[in-house]
């Protein structure tokens, strides 16, 4: 089946989300759709799935124009999509999930034909070597396996075009490799695969054709032989340096010293098990690991948002575990939270107010409990300039900013105090290439000014780019601390739990 989008234009008011986009997807190929957040990739897919009517242009299947009224039509035509966030019912088994919405019945009482669904799962699973048990319950499966269930679901509906939306965001490097292998097999069996992503490495590894979208327009097509710099420049629209420019670290005294830190939650689940490490001034320690292996609890315990069950942490000789958050911040901690919209910003507050969220009670922003609006405004404008926060006014709400600019607000706030330690969790999640560059630069400047920096990131690229040392976390423990030039395979194995560097090797 050949799928073609011809001259698709979709406008929202004055804003053109898709500007006469042409896309040809041929069977047996992997087509990468590359673009930054907000480039118009999702709009295009929503047009394809009949959720939006295009203002101009048409969709053709095998050279015949089609008109989809909704996802049902698109699926009936053989187009399926695996979303970034899986659409699975957690307490159900694999077979139950696969037949969900397409239940077959048998017998006079129209009972569910679970056996047929099981058989279907087994058949597809063995055809592609998925190794998925039809009776396994979804919530017991690792993320990579859940993704395979989604793919089985799509294939069971005889999808000929399979769209994968940011499929590797939640996977370990090994799982990513497995997925890419699956994609190759699907391609070889004649399925067309559309890979929506902003990760250049994967695109280079697997795509047959690359279409780059920027600001709603197709700005170019490229071959997989294109270099990462070329692809990134196409995506961003200007030259981008992919390597982080940094001088060798000059580690000084130990600033953060963590000894035997454990966190057990109220249900008795241990999230952090006897974690010990230190970070020196002038160096960046990056914590690598798949999300949900205790990184969040570690940063929250250091901040004071979570009380550790045992162990302690000292910041420049001062014990910070057990202190109120305000005192820890006062002691010289800058904290960039993992979830900036939930923990880092008050979306309804103005940018100016967000810039003083943790210093509002200090001079010069206030005096004897009274805010000083003029100072807040002046300082806000200064920060806007220094950190290149793109907004017409600092009195707009933080919620009106793009993700990258929101992150700049958080950074501007945290880096404008004298810091001994900066903790940043996934500091570039969801940011475009340009903003990533900027954020990385500021973090390295902070290191070079002598602060200790602790980065938590689930993006291996980021860890490798920033770290002076890498600590790998797995199941609440640090499985090893390795130099930044450790190869990715070793890191990957460590992230999957291989306990030391030697075991992994």
């Amino acid at each position: 089946m050949k799928l073609e989008l011809r001259g698709i234009t979709k406008r929202f008011g004055d804003f053109t989300a898709n500007d006469s986009i042409d896309l040809l997807i041929e069977p047996g190929t992997v087509h990468a759709l590359l673009g930054e957040n907000g480039a118009g990739k999702s709009t295009l897919m929503n047009v394809l799935f009949g959720l939006y009517d295009p203002d101009e242009g048409e969709i053709l299947i095998d050279d015949k124009a089609v008109d989809f009224d909704g996802p049902g039509d698109a699926m009936a035509a053989g187009i399926a999509m695996v979303h970034q966030h899986f659409m699975l019912v957690h307490p159900f088994t694999v077979a139950e999930n696969v037949m969900l919405g397409h239940e077959q019945v048998k017998g006079p009482f129209k009972l569910l034909d679970i056996d047929a669904a099981r058989e279907k799962v087994r058949e597809i699973s063995s055809r592609f070597g998925f190794n998925v048990d039809p009776d396994a319950v979804i919530e017991d499966l690792p993320v990579g396996a859940q993704q395979r269930v989604e793919i089985i679901k799509a294939l069971s509906q005889k999808a000929e075009v399979l769209i994968l939306d940011e499929p590797t965001a939640v996977l370990t490097p090994q799982e990513t490799d497995e997925l890419l292998e699956i994609v190759r097999q699907l391609r070889d069996s004649g399925t067309a695969v559309v890979l929506i992503t902003h990760k250049l490495r994967e695109v280079q590894a697997i795509a047959d054709t690359i279409t780059v979208i920027r600001r709603g327009k197709v700005v170019g097509t490229a071959l997989p032989t294109a270099t990462r710099e070329e692809l990134a420049s196409l995506m961003v629209g200007r030259a981008v340096t992919m390597t982080v420019d940094k001088a060798p670290a000059e580690p000084k005294d130990v600033i953060l010293d963590v000894k035997g830190l454990s966190v057990v939650d109220e249900y008795g689940v241990a999230h952090l098990k006897n974690v010990s490490f230190d970070v020196r001034g002038g160096e960046i320690l990056a914590i690598a690991g798949v999300q949900g292996n205790g990184q969040t609890e570690l940063t929250e315990a250091l901040l004071g948002a979570v009380t550790p069950t045992s162990g302690k942490a000292t910041l420049d000789g001062k014990v910070i575990t057990g202190l109120p958050i305000a005192d820890v911040l006062e002691a010289g901690l800058g904290f960039v939270p993992e979830d900036r919209t939930e923990d880092g910003l008050v979306a309804n507050f103005t940018i100016a107010n967000n810039l003083i969220l943790d210093v509002y009670d200090k001079e010069p922003y206030s005096k004897r409990g009274v805010l000083r609006p003029k100072v807040i405004e002046d300082e806000g404008n200064k920060h806007r300039e220094q950190f290149d926060i793109r907004t017409p006014s600092i009195f707009n709400t933080a919620g009106s900013l793009s993700g990258g600019n929101q992150q700049k607000v958080v950074l501007a706030r945290e880096l404008s105090r004298p810091l001994k330690l900066l903790i940043a969790s996934n500091p570039t999640r969801g940011l475009d290439v340009g903003s990533i560059e900027f954020v990385h630069k500021r973090i390295i400047e902070e290191r070079d000014s002598g602060a200790a920096v602790l980065i938590v990131s689930s993006e291996l690229d980021e860890v490798v780019a920033l770290a002076d040392r890498i600590a790998v976390m797995y199941h609440g423990q640090i499985v090893g601390i390795v130099p930044p030039d450790t190869d990715r395979d070793t890191l990957g194995l460590m992230m999957a739990g291989a306990s030391t560097e030697e075991d992994a090797a």
Binding site: G72, M81, H102, L303, A326, V346, G369
Partner: protein, 418 residues
Amino acid sequence: MSDETPPPAPSVAAATAAEPPVKKELRERPETRTVFREIVESSWLVIVLAVVASLLISSVLILMANTEFREALPYFFSRPSDTFGAIGDAVGGAYSALWQGAVFNAGAGSFSGKIAPFMQTLTQATPLIFAGLGIGLGFRAGMFNIGAQGQLLIGATLGAMVGFLWHLPFPLHLLLAVIGCAVGGAMWGFIPGFLKAKTGAHEVITTIMLNYVALNLVGWLLTLEFMQRPGSDNPQSPVLDSSAQFPKLFGSQFALHWGFLLALGAAWFTWWLMERSTLGFQFRAVGANASAAKTAGMRVPVVTILVMVVAGALSGLGGSAQILATQPSLTIGIAGSIGFDAITVALLGSSRPVGIVLAATLFGGLKAAGPTLQVQAGLPIDIVLVIQSLIVLFIAAPPLVRFLFRLPNPRFVKEVAA
């Protein structure tokens, strides 16, 4: 296959919410929070239109209650003029009575008689301003304080006790009585604040229950000898010393008293507290995003308690406008329905001090006009309640107002503009 439900459909639909220029960051989080925000932060336009819509619907009800209209309706097609005449008389009469009773009585002989209705309106508005400020402050700090009624009642009780148990010279006595009202309300606000901070007990439930506790506690207090008016079997306290009462603002011919000025002062103070003080900054931050406030080092439980104490004190001052002025003797009915009307006032005023003063004046006007409506337009007093309730109903459902007046969805407009 067409009759089957495609599983990914909801997901794709969900993705549309975070479309192109719209950043994921714009999405509101939990559903209940969104509804709460929508109610609390309605735009001025929606509020004005809600008032208009409720007056329109009330017109229909006024017609239904009007005998001439009902009599003229059956022969509408033979003599439509009768029906239209009845409509004009009924609706026009009702709203002109409303105007006369609440704003300006052109028919009165003297100037003071002409403006007396407006003075009455402001007098009725005074306790609503106080209590509305207390509730609005809670809203902005993320606390759904339904307990203004109880806080007002306890405030009035403490103020009354200062007023009739102690006997002091004028300005001092009044000052202490006012403070008594504030302290009483603050105490009653502290309880749900403390419970929420320490145990997570939801303030909606605790404040509602504390309203009953307050009501019956005061009822019991009034059976005690020292609280009872000598020589009376009714559950009412002695009349407060005149030295503990608010003097009249423009002489004895108007009911308006110093409490109104205090209410305006409280409105200014609330504005200053919320917009200019570091404490108010914390109140707002906790209300808008408690986890970000916590991450920034604010002590959310302490803020929660303080919010309820300040809100309670404001509501308690609402009690002063009753006990130290219009009804200087404590009964269990002293709070009327002020604590609940104040919720509407706070919503109508978008939880902002200026809005609350205006909304309280509107409601004070509806209350002040009640008797005139009844006597002059022959309307049941209930129609005033119906108008009030309809206003709330429309404000609680902005999409309904937008639908009625064909307004665009502001969220969509924001997306397009982004």
